[in-house]
């Protein structure tokens, strides 16, 4: 059993008795009660469990909780609140970028990292970037539209 000390969405958590085999996804949901991170396939295919670790998007089902000791993690709960959506969340609402909502946390966290790392100048770039996230409602058109719009807004902010 290990102790894991992490900062999640700005809050410090010291958690003891963590089994080394505990996945980060289960740690966030079951030990920290942060159920915004969704668990889909649990083998790195669907992207629903994507979170940011030290600013980089990762699949939380492909990382052990013990590996994040000392790390800074952002989950979907850290992006914004219902009263104050962040830019990308607001565009998802604006463009109806979600249907059942199961894939949405992963889409948002992936979108955040894509917006930071790539210009996303074309829809092809956005679709390539999202190719690791599955939406079983197949609502991709509006997800792409939301990210396209968020990318345009970021460009206006930082010309």
């Amino acid at each position: 059993m290990a102790n894991v000390s992490v900062t999640v969405n700005g809050e410090v958590y010291d958690v003891s008795d963590v089994e080394p085999r505990l996945l980060l996804s289960d740690f966030l949901r079951d030990r920290l009660g942060l159920t915004g991170t969704h668990v889909g396939c649990e083998h790195g295919v669907c992207g629903a469990c994507t979170v940011l670790v030290n600013g980089d998007s990762v699949r939380s089902c492909l990382l052990l909780a013990v590996q994040t000791h000392g790390a800074e993690i952002t989950t979907v709960e850290g992006l914004g609140s219902p009263d104050q959506l962040n830019v990308l969340q607001a565009q998802f609402r604006e463009h109806h970028g979600l249907q059942c909502g199961f894939c949405t946390p992963g889409m948002l966290m992936t979108g955040e990292d894509l917006l930071r790392k790539y210009p996303l100048a074309t829809d092809e770039d956005i679709r390539e970037g999202l190719s690791g996230n599955l939406c079983r409602c197949t609502g991709y058109q509006n997800i792409v539209a939301a990210i396209r719009s968020a990318a345009a807004l970021r460009r206006e902010e930082k010309p």
């Binding site: 992207g47 980089d56 699949r59 089902c61 990292d113």
Partner: protein, 286 residues
């Protein structure tokens, strides 16, 4: 789907990691980026007693120019290779291939040492190591040794490492070539290749002076096509050359049918990609 129990070890040197593998008596497994190993653990297709996590070892992540070679530390992440100006300038085929490596979240974690050790026959980095004739340095209980990439891959998901050896560095010779191309088809962007080819050429006074050709997704290991390279060099260059080259490339492989594609379909893809790749490489040959 959760991993079975294991003992977790976090050594701070390669020597200590090797010692932990020795102590595990064949029941140990090395964790680098974990992007192939964690799915295996989650499915319980791998049930190691000891997991040796390399991520606390400093000095294993670097991209360095050493005269005519680029040396890459085993823990270097795919994302670092993807955005390295040095890789873009000196190993352009690798730079072009990196965006085909899985997805951003995987590239943020996955490492070159891990990808080579996993030895997937349809993964880009094993293919690139064969393409560039890379040298793989590994460390084990008896110290370090080097292995040529073509010797390293033995079969699908099988390399020639001893159970207590760890990949520490990969050296890629820089090709003084003028034209190159990397082509890949996958079922969705970022998936493993159904067929892929890398071509690089150096023109001579007549025809080509040097040529390099490697494939993946069409055999149990990535392949360097040395015979096809020689045949390409011997060819007179005209507008039929890409078609003839494509026929030669396809004649060298006999891919199996599997869940993802029939062997015939893979050959069809390879024929089209070979033609296109050589056209691109020749057009850019300066």
């Amino acid at each position: 789907m959760k991993p079975a129990k294991f003992e977790y070890v976090l050594p701070s040197t390669v020597g200590a990691a090797v010692a932990a593998l020795v102590a595990s008596k064949g029941e140990g497994k090395v964790l680098a980026g974990g992007q192939s190993l964690l799915p295996l653990l989650n499915f319980r297709m791998a049930r190691p007693a000891v997991l040796v996590d390399l991520n606390a070892i400093s000095g294993l992540s670097y991209i360095e120019e050493r005269s005519d070679r680029i040396a890459i530390g085993a823990l270097t992440r795919h994302r670092e290779l993807e955005q390295s100006p040095l890789i873009a300038a000196k190993l352009p085929v690798m730079a072009a291939a990196m965006r085909h490596v899985a997805h951003l979240a995987i590239r943020n974690r996955g490492t070159i040492g891990g990808s080579l050790s996993h030895a997937d026959p349809a993964a880009e980095l094993p293919m690139l190591s064969v393409f560039y004739d890379a040298t793989i340095s590994v460390q084990g209980p008896d110290g370090r040794r080097t292995i040529a990439a073509e010797e390293f891959f033995v079969d699908a998901l099988t390399n020639c490492l001893e159970p207590e050896e760890i990949v520490v560095e990969i050296e890629f010779p820089i090709l003084q070539h003028d034209g190159w191309a990397f082509e890949e088809v996958a079922r969705r962007f970022g998936d493993f290749a159904l067929a892929s080819i890398a071509v690089s050429v150096r023109p001579g006074p007549a025809g080509l002076k040097e040529a390099r050709v490697a494939l993946m997704g069409v055999a149990d290991t990535p392949l360097r096509l040395r015979e096809a390279e020689q045949e390409l060099i011997a060819m007179e260059l005209d507008n039929r050359t890409p078609q003839r080259f494509s026929e030669i490339v396809v004649s060298k492989v006999s891919p199996n049918d599997d869940l993802h594609a029939s062997g015939e379909y893979r050959k069809h893809l390879l024929a089209q990609l070979s033609k296109r790749a050589l056209q691109t490489a020749l057009a850019a040959k300066g």
